[in-house]
Amino acid sequence: MRCKHLVLGTALALGTVAIIPVAASAEDSIYVPLMTYRTGPFSASGTPIANGMVDYLNMINARDGGIGGVKIKVEECETGYDTAKGVQCYESVKSKNPIVTTPYSTAITLQVIPKAGVDKVPILSMAYGLSAAADGNVFPWVFNPPSTYWDGASIFVKYVGQKLGGVDKLKGKTIGLVYLDAPYGKEPIPLLQELAKDYGFTLKLYPVPASEMQNQSALWLGIRRDRPDYIYMQGFGAMNPTAVKEAARINFPMEHLIGNWWAGGESDVRPAGDGGKGYLSLDFNVVGHDFPVMQDIIKYVVDKGGSQVASKADVGENFYGRGVLNSMIIAEGIRNAQKLTGRQVITGEDMRRGLESLNIDQTRLDQLGMVGFARPFRVSCSDHSGHHAAYVAKWDGHTWVKDSDWIEPMKDKVLPLIDAAAKQYATSSTGWPKRTEPCDKSS
């Protein structure tokens, strides 16, 4: 009899699966699915990002009644930073007319890039994913503003040059790259190798295998022996706090250890305690909750109990702000699409046009309450990233403080690499469609 129940249960369960995709969404709202990860080994970074993304969109709903009078329907889908689950999320939301895909994982981004043009849903991978996707002529459906990893690496080299008193002083120096031994971590290598040739510094590579993220003592002993002058770190998740702790242990000067923008979460340095003081990280959103936009989030969402943040102090943390910035790009993309098409309820195709002609200038930032929080940025039909500036943030033991001016990337070095990589992508996958989407004038 037990088995009969089992059979019945299975049949019932299978029936449920068959029903799900049929469920339709209401026509008078804009559906924005957000892939997030609050579980798994990367949840420490994923949770504040998710909170920031959701809270900003909820704030827009509560304060302005949505965008252009249309409410945004926000829905999270848990990926756990796992590719297979990400694909599940992508497929399960597809029938509800999503207007954008935000994978928040390089691996999931690579998965969905070929599908975006077929399903007509643009991908917004903010400063992660495939660097080559910045080429809008090859990847009309993928957007990665404000900067790519290659921009980040070139900003790092510029910053080191500034510290040394001129890029010509880089000659003869040794620069280390501590990176996660996965596609994400290896991304900056070709650019750094080229810069090493141009400026005459030696590049030393220190790969951290994904399985050894929390066991880096041997690696750092090697670093102590090699004594690189500066270290760039392209890490994520549990790798970052471990690296910062190890660096503190071997007395590596923290001011010479610079993480990329995904190695700059509060949870990445806090475990190192006082030893983490002085650790540097690239950043493109400024930390703090004094900006009007953060105050609005506190007023309309957090105080009303609509947020999942543990305390008010979490609002305005670095990765929380990163999430807010990501949602701002989504919201502005929607607004722009509404303006272009004259329709209130937009589709994924409209959203693509909206994102492509996005131009957030100083006046718009002022209206958004984000002056000082982020920099103006714009994308164009041929350039989906914009290659914007970033600054270096310093951990003072409690929070991130701005340690440098905004530094522009070396576009002359980055753009040829993007060009070549995009061409290679298009030729290696036969049948990659030529861009047919018309180009809108920038707003």
Partner: protein, 357 residues
Amino acid sequence: MFYREAGQFKTTYAADMAVFPVLQDRIGFGAILAVAYLVLPFASEFLLHVVMIPFLIFSLAAIGLNILTGYTGLLSLGTGAFMGIGAFACYKLTSIFPNVNIIVWVIASGFFAAAVGVLFGLPSLRIKGFYLAVATLAAQFFLQWCFIRIPWLYNYNSSGSIEVPERTLFGIPITGPTATASSRYLVVLAIVAVMTWIASNLVRGRIGRSWMAVRDMDIAAELMGIRLLQTKLVAFAVSSFYCGVAGALLMFLWYGGGESGVFDINQSFFVLFMVIIGGLGSLIGSFMGAALIYTLPIVLRATPAALGVPLRSETVDHLTFMTVGVLIIGFLVLEPMGLARLWQITKQKLRVWPFPY
């Protein structure tokens, strides 16, 4: 009552040795095939792409590991890496010879996996059980390292990932972004069905019997004239072949691109769990294991939303995790030999129902 074989007489040896000796089984199997081939291709893309295609691919991988672990008794933790060999071999082959049909390369990539499998199977003559598991673990880590460190494997792609090109069969795209879920599903289904049929013949024939003899007691098998080295290496080769094809299918017909992280140690454990839950030494168990380990979490994740229960996405995930864990323990306590054995007992009970003796 319905499942009774009274009156079904076997008059030939062939009938006695049939895979499905009972008429009801044949009808059931025919019905499953009919649904799989005639009804499911018209199902929604979600059902095909998220549920059916991966379920079939994981079943194939589980069959591969079952041949090694279930039938020959050699514990392996290198399944993920062997799947990876298949995927990378298929990628290299189709980039070098783009005009050859992709199906040919999917099958051919199995041979590359088989060759590597044989190489790493060599120690199996001297070491057994957990020690062999450690040796295959070394294969897993070494191959994973190769996938990251040999840029030739992924055509020097700057993101280090496989990008699946568009390939057609009879003019219909079956890989790449334009391939529909139905066409990909039918190709996967056909390959899995044929390979399952071959596996069922293999394990019932001379080779399969020698595998099982080695599994049950290798000294006795050796005394009976079974050459241990050859038998074990054939098991490694066939098993890796299946895993390799499964890996190529996974990358080309399911994911459609991705990085080597897909083929990490977790993948090996994932398939091993399928084999253990499904039942060691059983082909139907491989399918049941894949259904339970892969499909059940998807169903569970979708259930609260379908019932209209408002739960946060991460809460759903935690609940799914716990439920699946409890179910796995439950099933193993209920029947340590796996779902296949449970299925056998069910059939036996149905046969004598409603008058059990």
